[in-house]
Symmetry: C2
Subunit: 333 residues, 2 copies
DNA sequence: CTGTTAGCGCCTTCAG
DNA sequence: CTGAAGGCGCTAACAG
């Protein structure tokens, strides 16, 4: 375990010079710098991040707050961010947050701010405690998903996306359009599914169709939730002619269950989802796709830019476009 | 940003006492400990990891080397490991490794060993440089997947799994059994797909069937690779009656392509995969399932146990069971 | 261009 | 049970 002192001694310079040489700081002659570099490689020396974090106050790492790392949406965001982060020379700390256990993010600003130079918070819940905690964070913060006032964010327009989905079905002649999504037990007001539903309702109303509340059934963002949602909708006295699921994963569950019950898609019922899941094409699923990996990249890039320029910027909200992808699960009413 | 000195002053004790009190070390009176704790909470004090890493040499973090975070297998491993890691109070650093770019792991032992107390290496390639680097690592290392001599590992028996898959098809009367997997361009000898194929061949031979090399077509571990693989197999003069894909994802691609070309599964051709992907049931996919999340948990637990007990243990290899899951994509020949 | 001198914030002997 | 002193490995301000 050679330290900076050993290296300095072996080259015949002071530790300070080694530090300057290796970090590319000015004020070192080319020959000295080269000698130091060569010796560092030869001895396998790398500065200890912990040790240099002390005087500089910079850890050279960013933290990522993730609710469910195993869900496609988050995995893909992290994947997008990771490339940018590692290319910028930062390490990435992954922090699970407690939504999975029915509780919202548990952001412990104190430890975190001593561990990382910046924070990427995915799908932050719009509850005051959580948002306040995020704003209290001393280093730059970027969120992906629901907007937190005073914090930079990358997102899509869920209301618009919902409208687009409904417009597609309406143009196919559907009027009894159901929605599978939203969680009545959610005490934290996570807005994604509700926003998408709002967009749907807006579109219906704009076409003179009154939204039927019975056609809205709850569903978490998992495949399994689609099974139950389909059953509830299909057992209704007046069935829908089309189902919009709050995510592609839910839609996949809907399709599965429909198939099992002998319901033909799209002849008996159209189905569509949101997100543009990598596998949705396997099901021929019509969807409102969003650039998930790209959002991860953009958020990470913004974060890194903020960390570089210490000047505090006006919080900005970057909204990325969504796109209707028509496949074979939607058809005429 | 209150430090340990401020806290100590506010309680009226020395920094040393604060340190002992907060870390639960013996030699502090209950009353003092409580007073310190209360003050810490009140002032929002948490010890800086960087600062305490310096004297102790422990960073309180573990590193995870991941080739492709967005692939289901790795995501699920990380998910399993994460719970264990965070519950043990460690932070998790995610390191992308360069396999994606056609290069093997680039393990920079030097930085890493100053950043983390332990390493979880997923799907390490069996090339000497990489394995040597892993063994050189000073802190505990656990791998998941291919075994590295001298390093603890968690894995499954891929040869056995392959044999099981083939046995299932043979028992259904199949003799022309194809395999979609393996990468001829792989210069690093990643053994998973080859091992599975070896198991298949063993089973065939045990039943007096000579493996036909033309029935083995390459496929990376992605859905898209299944398309091409199916086409190549189905355009053969003598078609197979069953296809074993090296992973469920490849199998999904095979199914998609088969469906597109009007090939009925399993009437015209049986299809099965490996891994037990969360979504494989949606396709009725028969598979050899492995406990992926559990492997992540077990590997993380082993790693943490090693970090706790400084005593070096004999490297062990934990092999987890696989299981045939019969669904509807396999049937009589 | 380079070395010297102080810390960064915490932990850990060793006294008391 | 508690405090004082020294050091972990590196960086930063100041000399030279």
């Amino acid at each position: 375990m050679s330290g900076i002192v050993d290296l300095a001694a072996s080259v015949g310079v002071s530790p300070a010079t080694v530090s300057r040489a290796l970090r590319g700081l000015p004020g070192v002659s080319d020959s000295t710098r080269e000698a130091v570099r060569a010796a560092a490689v030869r001895m396998g020396y790398v500065a200890s991040p912990s040790a240099s974090a002390l005087p500089t106050g910079r850890t050279n790492a960013i933290g990522v707050l993730v609710p469910w790392i195993s869900r496609w949406f988050f995995t893909t965001l992290v994947d997008g961010a990771q490339k940018v982060v590692s290319e910028a020379g930062y390490d990435m700390l992954l922090y699970p947050v407690g939504i999975a256990s029915g509780k919202p993010h548990r952001i412990d600003t104190r430890v975190l701010s001593k561990r990382v130079d910046g924070l990427l918070a995915l799908s932050v819940h719009p509850i005051p405690e959580e948002q306040a905690e995020l704003r209290r964070f001393r280093s730059p913060v970027v969120t992906v998903g629901p907007v937190t006032a005073g914090v930079h964010s990358v997102n899509i327009d869920d209301v618009f996306a919902g409208r687009d989905a409904a417009e597609h079905l309406i143009s196919l002649g559907h009027t009894r359009i159901a929605f599978a999504g939203g969680d009545p037990a959610d005490k934290f007001g996570f807005p994604v599914a509700p926003d998408r539903y709002t967009g749907i309702c807006n579109a219906l109303l704009a076409h003179g169709i009154t939204p039927d509340p019975r056609l809205q059934v709850p569903a978490e963002f998992v495949v399994g939730a689609g099974h139950l949602a389909f059953d509830r909708l299909w057992d209704l006295p007046e069935r829908p002619t089309a189902i919009i699921a709050a995510s592609d994963e839910i839609a996949m569950g809907v399709l599965y269950r429909a198939h099992l019950r002998g319901v033909r898609v799209p002849e008996d019922c159209s189905v569509m989802g949101f997100d543009g899941h990598d596998m949705s094409y396997l099901f021929g699923l019509t969807t409102i796709s969003q650039p998930v990996r790209e959002q991860g990249r953009v958020a990470a890039a913004l974060l890194i830019e903020m960390m570089a320029s210490s000047a505090a910027q006006e919080p900005q909200s970057i909204t990325m476009p969504t796109q209707l992808v028509v496949r074979s699960t939607t058809g005429p009413a």
